[in-house]
């Protein structure tokens, strides 16, 4: 659970900081677009003001040309007048285009245009009069002055408005910039904090993993050493221990064969006990050897094993016993698992023969095998990750003598027996071997006593 929470925390911190970074990028982009827009509007204002100055300069040029001609009647003064008139059209057209976005300025430009056209009509009239030899019309001259003043004041208004707009836009931009800067800074700080938290979490988790791995590797080394020692022990048991035992048996039996008649009754009984004990010790050593061979991890090669055919083989193997004791065995359809066929055969064989062996006197044994898919959480002492695993639970149920529930774990310990050897034969290796086999298959085996001594249930859990 802790592992999952840490993982969730890391994902959350990463998600939040990622979202913040995306938002920050978007904000930065948006801001730069806006700033660009503002720069463009400032440019626009400058262009309008420049154009405005152009209009005034051009009308001045035209007027200067007119005055020069009126005073001197020299045609050369009409040249700037003509040039001014022709460029005025273009200037006014571009001015109209520039102020398209502002109706107020548009109105002003319209008025300026009208005043200019009136002024130019007057100038044309004055020039024509002078060319035809008439004197200067003072009324018209005063009219022209009025028009000029109108033009100047209109241009001034237009320029003022643009200037105000510029100031206003600058203030607005400054404020917006300050706000955005603050916001950007805040956001950066927050996402930095999140990133730091995220890294901290990752760091802690990584440290934990490293420590965990270290423990795991140490355990693995221990395990390998223990395994090597076990194998060493198996060898010692097989050779060094069996050797003297074989001698005890050989000389004991030789003594019985050659000298039995010479012994007293007490001597005969003692010799019998010695020989029986030697045989029993031999069994124990053989079982121990088998057990340690089953524990040998190197021989673990998994293949597909159909448990139905394993069950069938075991039934065949125990056929004589089944007929003799009138045993009924019912099994559900069993799954196919990954495993070692020989070991699974041993597992089934041991569990079924146990069920027959510990049956109630005068009651024909009934053994039921059922199979279900279950969650790992059903098992005690399981790691977090294993809890989510799905297992085949194969249950062997019998109607035998059962056992006291307090021994439900003890019976799996090697050489542990609940009954006297005179009642039931055996060395006490069977269930220990079953547990070993289950463990070899990354599985489990647990025992359950039915209430009222109505038999026992052995649940074998094998990974799906």
């Amino acid at each position: 659970m802790i592992l999952r929470n840490a993982l969730l925390g890391i994902f959350l911190a990463m998600g939040v900081s990622l979202a913040m970074l995306v938002f920050l990028s978007w904000l930065a982009y948006d801001r730069s677009v806006e700033s660009n827009n503002r720069t463009q509007s400032v440019n626009h204002t400058y262009r309008v003001r420049l154009k405005n100055k152009d209009i005034l300069a051009t009308i001045n040029t035209i007027e200067t040309g007119e005055r020069g001609y009126l005073l001197t009647k020299d045609e050369k003064y009409l040249q700037p007048y003509g040039e001014g008139r022709s460029s005025m059209k273009g200037i006014l057209r571009s001015m109209e285009l520039l102020v398209r976005d502002s109706p107020r300025q548009q109105k002003r430009v319209d008025s300026i245009k009208k005043e200019i056209s009136r002024r130019i009509t007057l100038i044309e009239f004055n020039i024509e009069r002078t060319r035809n030899g008439y004197g200067i019309d003072t009324v018209k001259l005063s009219d022209g002055k009025n028009h000029m003043e109108n033009i100047r004041s209109l241009c001034k208004e237009l320029d003022n408005e643009e200037r105000e707009l510029l100031t206003y836009r600058s203030i607005l931009q400054k404020e917006a910039d300050e706000n955005t800067n603050f916001f950007l800074l805040l956001l950066s700080a927050v996402s930095l904090a999140f990133l730091l938290v995220f890294f901290r979490l990752l760091y802690i988790e990584l440290r934990r993993r490293i420590a965990f791995q270290k423990t795991l590797e140490e355990k693995l080394t221990d395990l390998e050493r223990a395994n090597a020692e076990l194998e060493q022990f198996a060898y010692v048991a097989s050779h060094d221990l069996q050797e003297p035992l074989r001698k005890i048996r050989a000389f004991g039996e030789r003594l019985k064969m050659k000298q039995n008649d010479l012994l007293t009754e007490d001597g005969k009984t003692t010799l019998l006990k010695i020989n029986q004990s030697a045989i029993r010790m031999q069994q124990l050593i053989d079982d121990l050897l088998m057990f340690s061979r089953t524990a040998n991890l190197r021989e673990r090669i998994f293949e597909e094993v159909n448990l139905n055919s394993v069950f069938r083989d075991v039934k065949g193997e125990l056929n004589d016993l089944i007929e003799q004791k009138k045993v009924t065995i019912i099994s559900e359809v069993l799954p196919t698992v990954q495993g070692i066929e020989f070991q699974l055969f041993q597992l089934f064989n041991n569990l079924i023969s146990n069920a027959i062996k510990y049956s109630k006197a005068n009651t024909p044994p009934i053994i039921e095998i059922d199979c279900q898919k279950v969650n790992g959480s059903e098992l005690p002492n399981l790691g977090d990750i294993q809890k989510d695993n799905i297992y085949h639970r194969i249950s062997f149920m019998d109607n035998g003598i059962g056992f006291d529930p307090i021994y439900s774990e003890k019976i799996f310990i090697i050489f542990q027996r609940l009954h006297n050897r005179s009642e039931y034969e055996g060395t006490g290796i069977g269930l220990a071997l079953c547990r070993r086999i289950a463990t070899n298959h990354n599985g489990f085996i647990v025992a359950e006593a039915k209430p009222n001594q109505e038999g026992s249930i052995f649940h074998v859990y094998l990974p799906t």
């Binding site: 069996q242 074989r246 050989a250 000389f251 004991g252």
Partner: protein, 148 residues
């Protein structure tokens, strides 16, 4: 085989040598028996005995000091005049690896020492009685060709 062929036994364990002799005595064996304690002694003995027929049967333990049974088999079966002496491997090992190895090296028979003395007794006396009968058969010229 005109005269009584010798049975050569290689075993480093004195008790086992004693038990074997006890079985031989019980089944009334008249052939001479020679005991050696390891492979080197065995090879030395067999090279020194002048008559190649003097050793009629070898009972060979596998695990012995200095030179083990496998090495002995390798030497015996690589020399033409020694190859035809029947070798019975008599050992405590029941491992399939050992059994296969011995037969591959040319052992004629492999007997894992039974842990029960009664069974051991029966096995060895059956083997010896059989060998005595076979060794007393007249050598048929055609068969001799195969033997060599």
């Amino acid at each position: 085989m005109n005269k009584q062929a010798t049975i050569l036994i290689a075993d480093d364990d004195a008790d086992d040598r004693f038990l074997l002799q006890s079985v031989f005595d019980d089944c009334g064996l008249v052939n001479p028996t020679v005991y050696v304690k390891d492979g080197l002694e065995l090879i030395e003995y067999i090279r020194q005995s002048n008559n190649e027929y003097s050793v009629g049967l070898i009972l060979l333990d596998l695990n012995m000091p200095r030179m083990d049974g496998r090495e002995v088999l390798r030497i015996l079966k690589s020399e033409p005049h020694l190859r035809k002496i029947p070798v019975v491997v008599l050992t405590t090992s029941k491992s399939e690896q050992d059994i296969n190895d011995c037969y591959e090296l040319g052992a004629n028979c492999y007997i894992a020492k039974p842990s029960s003395f009664d069974v051991f007794n029966d096995t060895i006396s059956t083997l010896i009685k059989f060998w005595v009968k076979v060794s007393q058969l007249p050598v048929v010229p055609e068969a001799a060709r195969f033997l060599n």
